[in-house]
């Protein structure tokens, strides 16, 4: 493993963690303008946003949130396993499977919602634009995350007490993707459900 220019594995691991956190900061700012657009839209067109959100599938959305947060648990357990030199493949596999389940449900939602979009007009269209853009970007990030977790699963034998930075760093990324969804969920699914 190339450790130039680092003096030690510890130094390299610290650098990797700092780099991933710095990268996650850029990701937060990357999603920022979309949140900005949503806040503006919601304040300027409250009725249209509420009416556009009612056909959303709140049961599926809630289920998805639960699945994703559970995958964060399994990922955290994988990271701890790697740090302690224990087996991690089971946790990694569960994480990836939960992620795939999320994507499957999302895809089915997209399929069902496309007909709703055709009926929308005015600021309702803006709601759907933001919905597809934000959840689509999220799904893209999740897909990349699943790929990374699959790669870790494939090379799981490499990781142990001595060397586990890639697992930690991937865990940080996975949790970030979860945090983004934690905000997206109420924004798109929970607008005045009492009137739906």
């Amino acid at each position: 493993m190339p450790t130039i220019p680092f003096d030690s594995r510890l130094e390299r691991r610290e650098a990797a963690l700092l780099a991933m956190w710095a990268f996650l900061v850029t990701e937060a700012l990357f999603f920022g303008p979309l949140f900005f657009g949503y806040v503006h839209g919601r304040i300027a067109n409250p009725a249209a946003f509420v009416s556009a959100s009612h056909p959303m599938h709140v049961v599926l959305g809630t289920l998805n949130t639960a699945l994703l947060m559970t995958s964060s648990l399994t990922m955290a357990l994988a990271v701890r396993g790697a740090q302690q030199g224990k087996a991690i493949r089971l946790w990694l596999a569960l994480t990836a499977l939960l992620g795939l389940a999320f994507l499957g449900i999302k895809a089915s939602e997209y399929w069902m919602e496309s007909s709703e979009v055709a009926k929308a007009s005015g600021a309702e269209l803006t709601f759907y634009f933001l919905y597809f853009a934000m959840t689509g970007l999220h799904a893209l990030h999740l897909t990349i995350g699943i790929g990374v977790v699959a790669w870790l699963w494939r090379h799981a034998a490499r990781f142990g007490r001595e060397y586990h930075a890639p697992v930690e760093v991937s865990g940080l990324y996975w949790h970030f993707v979860d945090v983004v969804w934690v905000f997206l969920y109420p924004m798109f699914y929970l607008l005045e459900r009492y009137n739906a």
Binding site: L17, L18, W21, A22, L24, V25, A28, L29, G32, F35, F36, V39, H40, I43, V58, T62, T65, A66, M69, T70, S72, L73, M75, A76, L77, R80, G171, L172, H175, F176, D178, V179, V182, F183, Y185, P186, L190, L191, E192, R193, Y194, N195
Partner: protein, 95 residues
Amino acid sequence: MTYVLTWLALMILLALTCASSYFPMGPWNTIANMGISCAKALLIAIFFMHLKNAGALLRIAAFTGLVFLAILFGLSWTDYATRQISPAPWQDPAA
């Protein structure tokens, strides 16, 4: 284990946020939902992402992202909150 307790807290908060949206509370619905999302995010960041045990540098890095998002929203708000629409005399008053 801390992780399982964190997960449990997340699930409870999820149930809370979903259920509360079925009760009409006016602006408090949004406030509650945002507050709960922030709580969930903090739980994930502190326990799953190990910010609890991380050095000052990583915590500052995480915090910085939030600060600059706040600047984007906050300073733009000085514009959006204070705009006065002055319609021209010939315009429809509803415009």
